[in-house]
């Protein structure tokens, strides 16, 4: 393989990995606080993409406001899901909320099929993202630079919130001891809502960029990226934000490089992530950077 080819694969992998990371962070944050795998998370990713699609096509909004509105709306959708489907189950056994999340996922997907129809729709890329950039022999899609950059900035922003702000401090406290956090005067439900809001915003950002990269939207588009990002979160160590970033990037690289170096296996690209999940669960269930798992789901 030529160096130029490798560089192209590298940027493709970085892009795919960034998109996985953004979704994985939402899984890991919610898990960290509620010990809940939120299976509806991939569907928020899908909603983000659709919101932009409708914003730009149906309402003829310019890209930036369309994206901001879509992220805000998805964030709200994530908070609503928690409010309706998970909050009433806070005192129930953990498995109840897990089952509820599977139900919510089916609900959102089917609602999307009813409202948006099941037909995939092509997405128009904004002008500045079309075309190909040429550096010597290396040909790169502008998106493969833009997506990792935006993702990086979003993750920095998130880390700032989590590590440097008062609500972020409360989030970190809740993830270890909800009851004592309440004794400190923290309104736990508000912080949980904030967690869902932030995670959903990142998932929506990922969905929007995904729709630009593989330029279409459809109601089930969140399923596979969602599952894989979940695997990425487990790979990195669920509960750890840094772990989700590393896991997402790693999964992106593994998938792209398998297809690049072992084209004969490219048909198994999607299956590979699940094989990886089984291996992690057998060998190191706490993931690369995770702490002790208290309960397996």
């Amino acid at each position: 393989m030529s160096l130029a080819m490798f560089v192209q694969h590298f940027f493709n992998a970085l892009t795919l990995g960034s998109l996985y990371s953004l979704i994985a962070i939402g899984y890991t944050m919610v898990y960290g606080i509620l010990r809940l795998i939120n299976f509806a998370h991939g569907d928020i990713f899908m909603l983000g993409a659709y919101f932009v699609f409708f914003g730009t096509i149906a309402f003829k909004l310019p890209w930036l406001p369309a994206v901001l509105l879509a992220v805000a709306a998805s964030s709200f959708a994530g908070i609503l899901v928690d409010r309706i489907a998970y909050r009433p189950l806070r005192d129930a056994p953990r498995i109840s909320a897990l089952i509820s999340s599977i139900g919510v996922s089916f609900f959102i997907q089917n609602l999307a099929i009813v409202l948006f129809t099941g037909i995939p729709r092509p997405v128009q890329q904004p002008k500045i993202l079309t075309g190909i950039m040429q550096f010597g022999a290396v040909r790169i899609l502008p998106l493969t630079l833009v997506v990792p950059t935006i993702s990086f900035v979003l993750v920095l922003g998130l880390l700032w919130i989590v590590n440097k702000t008062k609500p972020g401090l409360a989030m970190r406290a809740i993830s270890k001891d909800i009851e004592t956090t309440r004794l400190m005067g923290v309104s736990v439900d508000k912080i949980i809502a904030l967690t869902f809001g932030l995670g959903s915003a990142l998932a929506a950002a990922s969905g929007i960029m995904w729709a630009l990269r593989y330029p279409q939207v459809h109601p089930l588009m969140g399923s596979f990226p969602g599952f894989k990002a979940f695997i990425a979160a487990v790979l990195g160590g669920i509960g750890s934000i840094q772990g989700a970033m590393v896991g997402g990037l790693l999964l992106g690289f593994i998938e792209i490089m398998i297809v690049a170096f072992l084209p004969a296996l490219s048909g198994y690209k999607d299956a590979f992530a699940f094989v990886l999940l089984i291996i992690i669960l057998l060998v190191k269930p706490t993931g690369l950077m995770g702490e002790k798992l208290e309960e397996k789901v």
């Binding site: 401090l169 270890k176 956090t181 004794l183 005067g185």
Partner: protein, 234 residues
């Protein structure tokens, strides 16, 4: 300041607190003593708003806080040092103290209160950037006390603050409780170390299986033969 009237607490089918009444006058130290499982922690947890199933009245400055949330109760001026300290092990000492001040809106004074806590517990200042989990048991107890003080409470409830500490540290903890009380804070103290608790308290209640069986001033209870027999080793 605080008056608990006919409080009942249930855990599912278990009737843990069976109609107890307690008075905590402003500026005093009141203690609850009793064997393991008597209901001391449940009483404090009910006052702090952590227990769901409860009946009766909990009057704090004329307000019935029985069904108030812990968030509300902290803001009303009641802080708790929970059983087992429950500091946040993965957060730094300073972050633990900041969480203690979470409910406050007077950001300007938080820094000076932290300095005050550091004066009270100089070892915490040296370890301000260390994770709570790396502290020794005694230091963690100081952190739990400091964290509760950071909310500027008027009433501070402590659940077995001397538990598991070496004798020298136990003495230190009781000195600190007296100092905190000297600053004008009202204290509701739960202790297994009955003798030290009765010595320091102005008033005391003895709990047995969810009921108050004896009450009186600290001196009265220390002199009471039943207390001597059951809690002070004869």
């Amino acid at each position: 300041m605080l008056s608990v009237e006919e409080l009942h607490v249930h855990y599912g089918g278990i009737h843990a607190i069976k109609g107890i009444s307690i008075e905590v006058p402003q500026g005093k130290i009141v203690t609850l003593i009793g064997a393991n499982g008597a209901g001391k922690s449940s009483t404090l947890r009910a006052i702090a708003g952590l227990v769901r199933q409860k009946k009766g009245r909990i009057l704090y400055k004329e307000e019935d806080i029985l069904h108030r949330s812990p968030e509300h109760i902290v803001r009303a001026g009641i802080a708790m040092v929970p059983e087992g300290r429950r500091i946040f092990p993965q957060l730094s000492v300073e972050e633990n103290l900041k969480l203690g001040a979470y409910a406050r809106t007077d950001a300007a004074n938080i820094r000076s209160d932290m300095d005050w806590v550091f004066e009270l517990f100089p070892r915490l200042r040296e370890r301000a950037w260390q994770k709570g989990g790396t502290l020794s048991g005694g230091e963690q107890q100081m952190l739990a006390l400091g964290r509760a003080l950071m909310s500027r409470p008027e009433l501070i409830m402590m659940d077995e603050p001397s538990l598991g500490l070496a004798p020298l540290l136990v003495r230190e903890v009781f000195e600190i409780i007296a100092a905190i009380n000297g600053e004008g804070k009202t204290v509701l103290l739960v202790e297994q170390n009955a003798y030290a608790a009765l010595k320091i308290a102005q008033y005391a209640y003895v709990l047995e299986v969810g009921s108050v069986v004896l009450e009186g001033t600290g001196e009265q209870l220390i002199a009471d033969p039943r207390v001597r027999e059951a809690y002070l080793g004869g």
